[in-house]
């Protein structure tokens, strides 16, 4: 191996998933448009974007379900086009739709995937039990899953991706349709897995990406439009600071005073004022209002969200 080749191989070793100009077209529709990603080993990476942005198509190509129109990708150094079965041995997939065998009980569903991956039966029993407890399904372990609620099925869907201890885990919208409590339980379990495996998660929930991911790629119309940590992405768009004040009422005199000092002042519902400017000093504004006789009931600086990031970059709301 040449020194150059060895250097590339070492670089490749650091990454669990790499995509090289990965593209997928469906007739004239370009679902994934030349994506280049480098996801580190042990990283929890989120693909955040609205429905139809190309998240699932990307995952389907990485899971070797769908062939790219052009470009390629590697998972743990194996090429998706040349070594699909090597990849399939090492990955776990929780698809966007809940896909389970309705007439089997959860233990049997877990055993099905475990046996397909050649897990020995003792290990399978221990791991299945552990997952059933974590996902809160232990008490219903012997019931056919067709009798389960949507949330329970969803949790089993995620558990089935984990039964064989995959080295790379693909979670396609893992908390879709879960109630807040179940969602939190799944999130906590995903966080525990972070150190054990590389996770690629797709979501259209910005709070999910914000809470779980080490790095986030924002995807829109098949293209990666922003990539970085949540903090870095938010920081990148902060051109103005925003403060929201709730008061009993604002006199016209106070409103005029504020408008003369700050770039944007908007009063909504008579008792709510939103002030935006390049730099805002919280105490200064509160004092100004207090001195003018305004009774302030609450005041806060508004932090930017990933939705703001998406809006800033694409000019549209994340959930459009």
């Amino acid at each position: 191996m040449t020194p150059q080749g060895a250097k590339q191989a070492r670089a490749g070793d650091d990454f669990a998933i790499q995509t090289f100009n990965l593209t997928r077209k469906f007739n004239s529709l370009v679902a994934v448009d030349g994506i280049d990603l480098n996801i580190k080993r042990g990283e929890l990476f989120a693909l955040l974007g609205p429905n139809g942005a190309g998240k699932t198509t990307t995952i389907n190509m990485l899971c070797c379900l769908l062939k790219p129109t052009s470009g390629t990708a590697q998972v743990l150094g194996y090429d998706i086009l040349k070594q699909p079965f090597k990849i399939k041995e090492t990955i776990g997939v929780s698809p966007q739709e809940t896909v389970i065998s309705e007439h089997l009980n959860p233990r049997e569903n877990l055993a099905l995937i475990g046996k397909i991956h050649g897990i020995d039966s003792t290990e399978l029993k221990i791991k299945a039990q552990e997952l059933l407890v974590i996902m809160g399904l232990e008490s219903r372990a012997k019931d056919q899953v067709r009798k389960f609620s949507g949330g329970m099925k969803r949790r089993l869907n995620v558990a089935m991706a984990l039964i064989h201890n995959p080295r790379v885990l693909f979670l396609d919208e893992p908390s879709l349709g879960l109630d807040p409590q179940a969602r939190r339980a799944v999130w906590e379990y995903i966080i525990k897995l972070k150190k054990e495996m590389t996770i690629l998660l797709t979501t259209h929930y910005m709070d999910e990406a914000d809470f779980l991911a080490d790095r986030i790629a924002i995807i829109d119309e098949g293209k990666i439009v922003a990539l970085g940590t949540s903090a870095k992405l938010k920081k990148g768009i902060v051109e103005k600071q925003t403060m929201v004040i709730q008061a009993q009422s604002f006199t016209q005199k106070v409103i005029n005073e504020m408008r003369s000092r700050y770039e944007e002042v908007e009063v909504t519902e008579e008792d709510r004022m939103v002030i935006s400017d390049k730099k805002l000093v919280f105490q200064e504004i509160v004092d100004l209002l207090h001195n003018s006789g305004t009774i302030v009931s609450s005041a806060s600086m508004k932090e930017p969200t990933l939705d703001d990031v998406f809006l800033h970059i694409t000019g549209k709301e994340l959930r459009e």
Binding site: C63, C64, L65, F85, K88, E89, I91, V93, P95, E97, V99, I100, S101, E102, H103, L104, E108, A111, L112, I113, K115, I116, H117, G118, Q144, M160, F170
Partner: protein, 365 residues
């Protein structure tokens, strides 16, 4: 390991589904009970038929006295000429009359000696009651075939002739009901495979190291086991309802099992050509119902026009009905049904190969 895991899952998915199981077992059993109640009760209908024996040989006499006379639903009277028989038919005293033409005895003899010769009987019947005339023709047909093909010593004078005395409608319809039950494997197989495709189970399992052949064998093994259980249950039920199993039931079981493999193959083809259960289900019935009608399940295919008979013989089911009736009713062995048997083997292999190729292609897409 993978194959067994998939086969076991497919088996459980079907036998734990009350609707699928109801279809697979309930449907043919309901038919059986219906036919059993209609034709096995105490109030067995009695149809008066006349016989004009123009052959007038010991063989034709034996046919009248022992084969026809002992069929429970027939009341046989001898006539000297067709004019009198026709008069009685018109007056309603007869439901049908048979003319045994000269040469009949010769033809039966040839059959017994292994030469396939056509057995010709002229039947004139009262067509005003379609159901009754159908049953009479079917029964006479079955009795004649039993008589002509039975394996006994050639010289009738030397041995007393043993005739199947219990050729009744249940004997005729029993194998047909079993074949009809097996035909239900077509929608069952297609539904199992298409449902996995439609609901994403196939895609999910394709993200595992499972190879396409594992899926195909997993489906097939599960379905063959299910079919074997179904065949045993329906065979036992037909026996309880009065089917006289003269021949080897294991050979008959094997013939039925081969047929069920043909059905799984057809189901696989349908599953490859469709994307949803809603598409697959009607397409399967579109196959299954005409194939049932053409198989001779309900009425003898000998009564069909020749072009339909030729068409029916392209498919395995007429061969199954023919072979299983020969085994169960006439008590013949593998040699006597070898053509039908190997036709079924060939069909099962061919449709499986086509099914596997198409299903693999549909998985890739």
């Amino acid at each position: 390991m993978r194959l067994l895991a998939l086969a076991s899952r497919n088996l459980k998915e079907t036998y734990r589904d009350p609707v699928a199981l109801g279809f697979l077992l309930g449907f043919p059993l309901v038919f059986m009970m219906l036919f059993g109640a209609i034709f096995s009760g105490e109030e067995t209908p009695n149809y008066a038929i006349g016989v004009i024996d123009e052959d007038n040989t010991p063989m034709s006499q034996a046919f009248v006295d022992e084969a026809l006379a002992q069929v429970p639903v027939l009341e046989v009277s001898a006539y000297d000429d067709t004019a009198t028989a026709l008069k009685d038919l018109k007056f309603g005293d007869l439901k049908a009359y048979i003319v045994i033409p000269p040469g009949f005895g010769q033809q039966v003899n040839s059959n017994w000696q292994g030469d396939k010769a056509d057995i010709v009987l002229n039947i004139t019947y009262d067509e005003s009651d379609l159901q009754v005339s159908e049953q009479i023709i079917t029964t006479i047909n079955a009795a004649t075939r039993a008589f002509a093909r039975i394996e006994i010593p050639v010289t009738i004078d030397a041995e007393p002739i043993h005739i199947e005395t219990e050729i009744d409608y249940m004997d005729f319809i029993g194998p047909g009901i079993i074949v009809f039950g097996i035909l239900i494997i077509i929608p069952t197989a297609a539904r199992t495979m298409v449902s996995d495709k439609e609901k994403g189970m196939l895609a999910r399992l394709l993200t595992t190291p499972t190879r396409p052949i594992d899926f195909i064998l997993g489906y097939s093994v599960g379905l063959v086991l299910l079919a074997a259980a179904q065949i045993i249950i329906i065979m036992v039920a037909t026996w309880l309802f009065g089917l006289n199993m003269t021949g080897n039931p294991f050979l008959a079981f094997f013939v039925f099992l081969l047929t069920s493999m043909c059905c799984i193959g057809i189901g696989m083809v349908v599953a490859s050509l469709t994307k949803t259960e809603n598409q697959a289900e009607p397409l399967c019935w579109l196959f299954a119902m005409p194939l049932a009608a053409l198989s001779g399940c309900w009425f003898s295919i000998e009564l069909m026009p020749s072009y339909l008979r030729t068409f029916a013989n392209v498919f395995p089911f007429a061969h199954t009905v023919e072979a299983s009736r020969a085994i169960l009713i006439r008590g013949v062995g593998l040699e006597a049904i070898s053509y039908d048997f190997f036709f079924l083997v060939g069909w099962a292999v061919a449709i499986f190969v086509i099914g596997v190729i198409l299903f693999r292609r549909s998985m890739r897409s």
